[in-house]
């Protein structure tokens, strides 16, 4: 009953707000006026002044090929084909005294169906992900090894399957089904990915897919809003044992140069640790959280690690002169707090209060002709907690990586190993894989210099990044690592880009702690990677 009431509450909020009409719908008025004007014209003029109908079916594809040489490899046999999470973590990724060499391919087709009979009222989107690791197994499916010669791997993921309801001329649309859940109010169905790396929370908290309902509104050109309800885990359908999140996001424009956002999210976790990815589970006490480098809490002495939790995020973000419209200087920043309560399902164990915060700021300077001619510096700080939940409070940061993998994909730093690099296929790992840094908190930053050697065709980038853990692990220090990296990108043809990327990390004394390397007898070598890439955005 409680669950039904919560669902009703979520849907009623989303249903009520569109009718509120709290701002003038200027764009809808324009549309109505245009229709009126055109209706007064001759048939010939109406045809001439109307765009031909777009095709009912549209295809957009993304292809990514990467050939990698590195000294990083997972040592667990089960994880050879796919490994995700924190480098040196429990996913068994380690540096080794030899070179791993492999090629991976990803193909992401997007099919859009907008039937003419509905006049654009409804659109279906299906997005799939097909990964190949050449001659290797795809994902953690051991029997699937040798896919290159048999070509029949089980390697298809469905990333989107949703219906977008968009009444013509309206100022809102509603997306129902499997869709992107990003930490920004912009509609990810109609905006490029790099917008989300520069706005909101830069995908650090939510940058994945989930089933649910999103209501996107543009009641005014200065306002983007989203209300969302996403079901993260549905365990037994007859029980209140699920994980869901309600998201409310607002982006405003109080000045032509300034975008200012406000966000409030509420996550209810009543799964008691049930569900999750394979044997890893999900939630605060799961191995999944540890894999991802998110906080894994432990209710020491409790007969069970099961719990219920209510987590709220309250945050604000801003970007000034994004895309360098008004000059060469651009700034962006966010601050967000996560607070709530985790209640162990065990007698005699008190609730754990949660209070953590994240701060990020970046300064960009465009010194040349294109937006690639720029220097930018970015800083990240997240609060941490040395003893997890042991003292009844947890002061670390909570991201979606607690419940899924990968969910938070902080990537605006452009580091390749120290922080997550999204230019990957099946092997996605980094040293600070979740901005919570295992709940210990992190202070870090990056500095990048980029230059278009040939405008919009050939670019070079050099960068460095550094990270310190705000709390140490027993036996270890604060310095996680310092990375130097470089990239060359050459546009062969439109949206077809070849790249050469390389990075080297000087590991710090953080890894002197056995828990940081997940082993007592292991001292990591400095990780390095060199990879060639071929990226093709097809449309």
């Amino acid at each position: 009953m409680k669950k039904i009431l919560l669902y009703l509450l979520g849907f009623s909020v989303m249903a009520a707000v569109p009718g509120a009409g709290f701002l003038t719908d200027a764009r809808a008025q324009i549309v109505q006026e245009e229709h009126l004007r055109l209706s007064e014209r001759s048939e010939a003029d109406r045809i001439r002044l109307t765009d031909p109908l777009p095709g009912e079916f549209q295809f957009i594809g993304y292809s990514f090929t990467r050939t990698t040489a590195t000294n990083i490899t997972p040592v667990n046999e089960v994880l050879q084909g796919q490994v995700i999470g924190r480098l040196f973590g429990r996913n068994s990724t380690e540096t080794v005294d030899r070179t791993a060499f492999y090629t991976e391919q990803r193909f992401v087709p997007l099919f859009v169906y907008r039937p003419s009979i509905l006049d654009g009222y409804a659109t279906f989107r299906g997005l799939f992900k097909i990964d190949y690791t050449w001659g290797d197994q795809a994902y953690g499916i051991g029997n699937n090894r040798g896919g290159a010669i048999s070509g029949g791997q089980i390697n298809l993921q469905t990333l989107m399957a949703n219906v977008d309801l968009r009444p013509p001329g309206s100022w809102w649309n509603m997306v129902v089904g499997l869709q992107r859940i990003f930490d920004s109010p912009y509609d990810p169905n109609i905006n490029p990915l790099d917008l989300f790396q520069r706005t909101g929370y830069k995908l650090s908290f939510w940058g994945t897919q989930a089933v649910g309902v999103s209501w996107f509104a543009r009641p005014h050109q200065a306002i983007h809003a989203r209300l969302g309800f996403f079901q993260l885990w549905e365990n037994q359908i007859s029980r209140d044992d699920d994980v869901f999140i309600l998201m409310g996001d607002l982006m405003t424009r109080p000045h032509p140069k300034l975008e200012l956002g406000f966000n409030a999210w509420y996550l209810r976790d009543t799964a008691r640790g049930a569900g999750g990815i394979s044997v890893l589970g999900q939630g605060f006490t799961s191995a999944l959280a540890e894999y991802n480098g998110a906080p894994r809490l432990n209710f020491q002495g409790a007969p069970t690690q099961n719990y219920k939790a209510d987590i709220v995020w309250l945050g604000t973000n801003a970007s000034w002169n994004r895309n360098f419209v008004h000059g060469p200087l651009a700034l962006d920043a966010f601050a967000i707090a996560n607070l709530g309560r985790i209640s162990p399902v065990a007698d005699g164990f008190d609730d754990v209060d949660v209070l953590g915060a994240s701060f990020n700021a970046a300064v960009h300077y465009r010194y040349g002709m294109t937006n690639n001619d720029r220097v930018w510096i970015e800083a990240l700080y997240t609060t941490g907690d040395e003893d997890g939940a042991a003292d009844g409070t947890f002061n670390g940061v909570v991201t979606g990586n607690v419940w899924g993998s990968p969910v938070g994909i902080y990537s605006s730093h452009r580091a390749l190993l120290l922080f997550p690099d999204p230019q990957v296929v099946n092997r996605y790992y980094s040293m600070v894989h979740d901005i919570s840094n295992m709940g210990l908190g992190v202070a870090g930053g990056s500095l990048n210099v980029m230059r278009d050697l040939i405008p919009n065709r050939f670019s070079a980038k050099a960068g460095t990044a550094i990270a310190f853990s705000n709390h140490t692990l027993p036996g270890g220090g604060h310095h996680i690592g310092t990375e130097i990296n470089g990239e060359l990108k050459y546009n062969l043809r439109v949206f077809l880009t070849a790249g050469l990327s390389a990075a080297y990390v000087f590991t710090g004394d953080f890894y002197d702690a056995p828990r940081a390397t997940s082993r007592t007898d292991f001292t990591p070598d400095n990780p390095w990677v060199v990879f060639l890439s071929l990226t093709w955005l097809m449309f």
Partner: protein
């Protein structure tokens, strides 16, 4: 009481949150009401051409704007140039205050229309000054009606880079009338800023004009003209005909032109493209203006005017 405070705060937040969009809620700006800063005359022919006519001299500079703009885009040049020459800045048919409708918009059509316009006004010693698409029209005019003009100034001209059939089709598909009509103000500002090396708030008039035009009675016709213009630039290329331009020609461009060559389809240095045009047009000279983008006559008017006057005085 606390709830009232929250509501008031929320209301203030909502009210101030829209301040960054300045013109979308303002009334429509009809094309006839756009203020160019100069008196506007009208030709007698069909289609009727609106034009600014300033100054006097042995030579007449015929200023022709580019895609999606109008005669007002020469406002920083007319006064300086008209101190030495008669200056006529036209609105191409389909744009600005000129006649709009189902005309066969294209390079040849506009060239023919301008040749008729020159004839109607009895102009002699015409120095054609065309910006961007206006430059491609100028080359078409110079080739199809060489007698109509005596000299040619190509300011960041279109028509000097090649597009493969596939890339041309893609470019054509990107521009739709709906897209032209529905572009929101922040995107309009961003699109305009791409025309400049460094955007200056002094050019906010362009944003206001474009945003308020979206509500004008003739916006459908304007959007139609823009889409037809893009097709026409692709369908009537001049790249293979540059050697047929026999007039003394000045090619002047901004060093940091972000639109020519097309940054997606033909990425590269602007200087390389314009130098190639300079090589192919027999009697041409090339001038680069530093720290300027595609709208060089607005971004660096003094340098642009000086380059034109030096050319006409040679």
């Amino acid at each position: 009481m606390k709830w009232y405070l929250i509501l008031i705060t929320a209301a203030l937040l909502v009210l101030t949150s829209c301040a960054g969009v300045r013109y979308a809620d303002k009334p429509a700006l009809e094309f006839q009401d756009i203020d160019y800063g100069f008196a506007v005359n009208f030709s007698q022919g069909t289609p009727q051409i609106a034009y600014i006519d300033e100054g006097a001299g042995d030579k007449t500079l015929l200023l022709v704007h580019g895609l999606a703009s109008n005669a007002g885009f020469w406002r920083y040049n007319i006064a300086a140039l008209s101190e030495h020459h008669r200056v006529i800045a036209v609105d191409l048919p389909g744009y600005g205050k000129s006649e709009k409708g189902g005309f066969p918009y294209g390079m040849a059509f506009w060239a023919e229309t301008l040749a008729d316009f020159i004839d109607e006004l009895g102009l002699e010693n015409v120095v054609y000054v065309g910006h961007s698409m206006g430059g491609q029209i100028g080359m078409t005019l110079a080739i199809n009606h060489p007698e109509a003009i005596s000299e040619l100034v190509l300011a960041a001209p279109a028509g000097v880079e090649s597009f493969s059939p596939g890339s041309g089709d893609w470019l054509r598909s990107v521009f739709t009338m709906e897209g032209v009509k529905r572009t929101p103000e922040p995107q309009i500002r961003e699109n305009l800023s791409i025309n400049f090396y460094r955007w200056d708030n002094a050019w906010e008039w362009m944003v206001e004009e474009r945003v308020r035009m979206a509500k004008a009675a003739d916006m459908d016709e304007f959007a139609y003209t823009v889409v037809q213009s893009i097709s026409a630039m692709l369908d009537e290329p001049t790249t293979h005909r540059l050697h047929q331009v026999s007039h003394p020609t000045l090619i002047v461009y901004g060093r940091y032109d972000g639109l020519i060559p097309n940054r997606f389809l033909n990425p590269g240095f602007p200087a390389a493209v314009f130098a190639l045009a300079h090589e192919q047009i027999p009697d041409s000279r090339l001038v680069e203006i530093n720290n300027a983008g595609h709208m060089l006559m607005i971004e660096k008017p003094a340098e642009f005017n000086a380059a034109v006057l030096e050319f006409t005085r040679r």
